[in-house]
Structures are given as structure tokens and as C-alpha cells.
Amino acid sequence: MALPIRDEFELQSKAHTPGAVGLLAYLPYLLAGAFFGIVAIRSEIASWYRIYEMFRFESFHMYGVIGSAVLTASLSLWLLRKLEVRSRDGEPLRVRPADPGRYRYLLGGVVFGLGWGLVGACPGPIYALLGSGYAGALVILLGALLGTYVYGLVQRHLPH
């Protein structure tokens, strides 16, 4: 039975205005990305070695990184809510809720994990490694785009 198309999060409703102003609006995101990319390399979370070590439970490093990242993000979200910070168009800042499925997260999660455990890079590190000049990252990225496309092809036949 064909299922309706699943959207993971509500996609953004407001379109960007193109033009010079629009281009400049991308700059903060570009800089935020550069910040993340530098941290991903310097913290070695983009290293295949660190991921392998993590899955063998032989180092605390990755668990410390993920744990303290979640804690920091969680405290920040609490603070933003407490201070009732709003966006420029007056909307409350919030983490958009995810699709209410169950199977998709467990099954899709396992498939993702298999790839993560093999090539030792999740999407953020793939981009960071690409910038560091590793040809292998380009092959992984190509595979990831292919996987994304094939998911779009067969989505209706998968349990969500």
C-alpha cells in the first residue's frame, strides 16, 4: 500500500527574498558552519579513529563531547525559553518537533549507524573532512547523496 509522503519536520514556510540582501543573510549561517567545522576537526570527532574507539568503549572522549554538547544545548534552550527570546519576526525560538513516527527512527537509525560505524564520519564531519582535502570524504558524500535519493525513491514502501 502506498503511503503519503512523510515529511520529517515542518519545512520553512517563509521564502527568502533573493538578491544582494538575501545573499548577505547567508553570511551568519556560513560563519556558524565554519565554527562548527573547526570544532569538528580540532575535537577529532571527525576522525575515523575516534569513532572506532568510541564503539569499542575504549575512550571517554566522544561520550564526553556528545554528553556535554547535549547538556549545553539543553541549558541554552531552557534559558532562551525562560528569557522569552523571540526571532526578528516575533516568533518564539523553538526546536521544531519531529514527525510522530516510531519505526522510522529505530530502523533508519540502525541503517545510519551501520554507515557511521564503517566510514567513521557522520554528515557534519563528512563536510569538514571534505574541506580538509580528503578525497575519501567526496566518495562518502557521493554515497550519502545517492542514499538520500534512493530513500526518496522507496519511501512509500518503508515502515515509518
Binding site: F35, A46, I51, V70, S74, G109, G115, I126, V150
Partner: protein, 187 residues
């Protein structure tokens, strides 16, 4: 200025990564997540599948963000490259050597990521297949480690906990059962 090229401890790196979540909310009320960019690229390339029929331009902040990650990777990995190899637990290093993987070849093992490995048919297929699982799984699970294991967990969203459990289950199976076999093929 040595800290610029030396590895950062988890208690520095983790909070910095966590701050990406409020940073993107403050910039434009965006949910931190990286694998969505792969979907936007497919949409921007003009795929006619319904899954890729949406206004990707309205999500293009995400493409600027990942372009920034590439730039950051260049700054930290090339301009400010760490000359030393990753310092591994000796037990991990020993296990790797037994499987024929050098534990001191820099940031990534040369057996998997050197040009020679990438251009060999088995090496190429290994990386392509790994990438395929990442892309397919991330869309099925509606996100990857950034969107679920950082953002979603921090927002106490149950789906993200399920996804994170899946990520780790898959990773454990890959690292302990598939990788030893795959590395045998690569040798």
C-alpha cells in the same frame, strides 16, 4: 597559540558544539541539523520525485551552513593542521594493527582514506556503500547525529532518543562484526 593546532578536550569541544543549537535559533530560528542538506541538494539538482518537491530555496540557509563547515574543515585541517597523529587508547591501536590498520597514519587511517585506497575498487565501494547507508538512514530516521543526538535530545524529543539508540546499535554492529570482515577484503 599552540591551542589552535592541538586537539581540544571534550569539555571544551562538547559545549562549543552544543552552542551551535542556540546560535542557529538566534540567527534565524533554525533547527540545527546537517543531513537535511543532502535532501536539499537532491531537490536543487531538480529531482522529480515527490520527496524532493518542495521549496528548497526556503531551506537554503542549511546549504550555506554546510558550506561553512567545509570552510571550517579547511581552516582547521589545512591552514592549522595538527602535525601529530590522533592519540589512541593503546588497546584500540593494538586491535587496529591486528586487523592491518595503522594506528599512527594521521587524522584518518591510510588503509581506508589514502588516494591508493580510495582509487582501488574495493576501497571506493567501501566508502560509497558506507555513505549510502548514512544518507539513506539519515533520511529514513529524519536526521543524523546533529539533528537527533544533539538537538533532539537537548529538546527532550522522544523520536530523537529512538534514533540515537538506533545509531549506536548500528554502529556497534558495524564496528564489531562488519568492519573486521570488510578490512580483510581491503587488505
Amino acid at each position: 597559540m599552540e591551542w589552535l593546532t592541538q586537539p581540544w578536550p571534550w569539555y571544551v569541544a562538547g559545549p562549543l558544539i552544543g552552542l551551535t543549537v542556540p546560535l542557529l535559533l538566534l540567527i534565524g530560528n533554525r533547527r540545527f541539523g546537517i543531513s537535511s542538506s543532502l535532501r536539499h541538494v537532491c531537490a536543487a539538482l531538480g529531482s522529480r520525485l515527490p520527496f524532493f518537491q518542495y521549496n528548497w530555496r526556503a531551506e537554503s540557509w542549511n546549504l550555506a551552513f554546510v558550506l561553512g563547515i567545509v570552510l571550517g574543515g579547511f581552516v582547521a585541517g589545512v591552514l592549522l593542521a595538527n602535525p601529530n597523529p590522533v592519540q589512541l587508547n593503546p588497546q584500540t591501536a593494538g586491535a587496529l594493527q591486528q586487523m592491518g590498520v595503522s594506528a599512527d597514519s594521521g587524522f584518518l587511517p591510510k588503509e581506508l582514506f589514502s588516494w591508493q585506497a580510495v582509487l582501488s575498487p574495493v576501497g571506493f565501494l567501501f566508502l560509497l556503500l558506507g555513505g549510502f547507508l548514512i544518507g539513506f538512514g539519515a533520511r529514513w530516521a529524519a536526521g543524523c547525529t546533529s539533528g537527533h543526538s544533539i538537538t533532539g535530545l537537548a529538546a527532550l524529543q522522544l523520536p530523537s532518543l529512538l534514533a540515537t539508540l538506533g545509531f549506536f546499535a548500528g554502529g556497534l554492529v558495524a564496528a564489531h562484526f562488519i568492519l573486521p570482515w570488510a578490512l580483510g577484503l581491503l587488505r
